[in-house]
Amino acid sequence: MKPFYKKITPFFFSFNFIKIIILFFFALYFSAFSMNHKQSENQVIEFDVLLRDKNSYKTIVKKTEMINLISRHSFHGKYFKIVEDKSDEAISFQHKSKVLIQKAATVYYHLNKSREFWINDMKSSFALHHPTITVRLEIKNKFNDLGQFSHDSLSPQYNNALSIPAGQGPDWLPKDERRVWGNEIWFRPKKMVPMIIPSEQNPLTQMLSSLKKPLMNFSLNKFIIDVMTNLKDKKNISQMSRNSFLNFVSLYALIEFSLLASKKSDFLFIDKTFYLDAAFIPEIIYHEYAHIVLSDYLELSHSTPVNEGMADYFAAVQSKLRKVYQSIKGFSNAAAKDTQASKPYHHWDESNENATSDFTLSVLWNIRHILGERESDILVYHARKYLRTKSAHINDHLLRALLQSCQDKCQNPFRDKLKMYESFSEKGF
């Protein structure tokens, strides 16, 4: 009789046993994999995002969930796709540049937040049904309405952000070569640009310049009086006159030296370089998305004081701060816009060159003080129906649109319009 081990050994070395073993390990591997996969499907995707600290200008970096994502590997969401430069592929979570990932996360987070504002607060059906918006980061090309991107070497753009209208290539191009694009938001890369500092503009130089003449006149007059006194008394030039002369000369030298030194201290008051990494500024993100949402009536053709002012307004509403686009160290040293700017109307405010001033923003913001926040937001949003980008002047079209909007939306139209007239009058219209 064979021992037991001799009986079972052939089984272990048989092919069937080996098959069983292989199948077992295979099953083990797949079950483990599927468990992992399930876990990763439920896992919240979070990234570091740059935010303004609650109701302040300070910024913080906070780990925040990326909502509404379609892909679990890239910034491709239901409503926004964040891409790099001219690519059509969303930026991967595994991208080699951590800064770019943070930028993409920041833009993605704020855009989704802004979308919720437009849908929940403003009840914008245009925002609700808008197809996915491609958001380009680090893009330097100028916009071209025939081919979307101008040539790479043609005037690269920095320190800016813009919204571009949907379009397609010309009809004479074959269909497969004809590029089609939707409304997009482009964020330019940051670049340190040297500032052209106008001479004698810093406050110290200005103060010294204004003091120079009266001080010199005072000293000179004293010297002349002393000399004339000596001459009158028929005395030789006295010690007092010599002292006066020395005082005059030394004062002159001191003032000139101080003026020269003050010009070198421009750096204390004015930045030497200008830079703006627009994708990291939350209000700029809100501003650009506002352009898209308002584009059902205010087409995205060019910047005008009215459409820029309206976008600034909604950026300020969402940021809940008095000054928008406040600088962030390392990302922006651009000047902020003040919602309560007190500058009165000047006809130059109608010029497209002044489209980025804060005058229109202050006009719209004043309405909040007189009608209330919610009513004002509804009124300004509704006013876009009476505006077109091509024919929108502040003095005429914007005011008329706001008044017409009040006629439609205000509870007491005549009274509220009278309040608005008073407000416009204070702004210098």
């Binding site: 003095n395 005429d396 006629q407 007491n412 319009k417 007239y421 008073e422 009058s425 210098g428 219209f429």
Partner: protein, 467 residues
Amino acid sequence: MTKILVLILMTLLLLTESQASKSAFTYQPMTTSSQLMNISAKILFNNKEASSHFLSKNDIQLAKKWATNISIPSENELDELMNLFLEKVLEDFNDSFIKCDVKFIHFFINEAKERNLAHSYTELRSLVHYLRFKNNIDDILYRAIERYLEMNEHFKYAQKIKVKKSSNQFIKRLKKQNIKIKDIFSIFQSNNICFFENYETMLNRLHSKKYQKKSFLNKLFQYAFSQKEISRDIFHKLMTLNKIQNLKQKQQRHIRINQYLETLSGVKDLYSKNNEDMNQETTYPNEIILSQERISRREYLYRKFTINQIIILSHLLLDTSKRINAKNSQLVWTYANNENDIYIFSPMEQYRASIKLLRKEIAEVRRSQLFRYTSFQYEDIVSAAFETGVIKAHEIDYIIKFKHYWQPQKSPGEAYLNLALTLTGNAVFFLPPPWNTIGALGLIWGEIIFKKKKKVSKPEDNENVII
């Protein structure tokens, strides 16, 4: 010195106010025709006066007490009863041939008795308080009814007065001052029903204040009665009134109920689609503008202006509001070759043009025949517009400011500050150095601290507008 100056100022003020009050009112003769427009209790309902100046807390308590004593269980039923009561009074008054205040009070008292609402003077007063408390009537009617009820009560309990023979001295005085009894008391001969109207006419005929004094009037009434110019009943009433009224009260001219009802039915909420609920936002119509007589802006309007005048005044603001709300407005130059050059106004130009046109139209209305002997201010226009329903209560505060376009106003604080700075600035000149320098620096500092830093924008600074 200052006391004398203050005294002189106060005297001047009093004089001007009394002159104003006299000249403000034109006595409206009572109408004998049944031309009173169809007036219902609904029009009497107060939806203009936010609060009452004359109804005290005590009066309200009396009114509530009276309401509980009336055997009507629910408040709604009582309100309905009040409406019916007023309707009947108005109907009777409307049907009456002679419409004077006595008649109205007579119908009021009779109806209250028939409906068992009030039998005594106290109950009648409580009834009137209740009507005012529930806003069935406004302050103007409330005040008038209260006054006549009180006088009626005095007449009831007037004691028989001994008739004294007039002295020769008094008769000589009358002859010397050319006071003819027949002319003064003739009004009582022609119509002896409308006592209160006739009384005021009689007082008007005695122009001078010295003839309205109690002692003089006593003798005058005695003499008139002895000469049979007035009946015994009228004599007693006149003597009673003379006793209870002081000189100031004699000089007051009251709004006639008939005049008031007639004007009310012609103008109230004429341009308002449906009666608005009383809006508490403004006390503008209820502001007392003649403090001596405690006359509100609203009462002043009804006293001074006729139906047509109120309508014309309210039209000024009606047209202005239409222009402000217009879709657009434009300026058109038509050349000799019939070409048109059109300038379209911006919204602010349209607004300013509307207000400037209002000012122009005010001047035109002032020159018109209808207002030849009646002056008016911008505040009267606003009152008229509010009364006719052209403007609503919450719009008044902004419409009042239209006036600032041609009469810019400074706040009292600003005015005092300017005065102080001007006086100090002048005084600094006379100070010896170095105090004048210190004073000048102090003035500069004061101006920087206290004067408004905000620059006031003017339309003239805007190169993009023409108005």
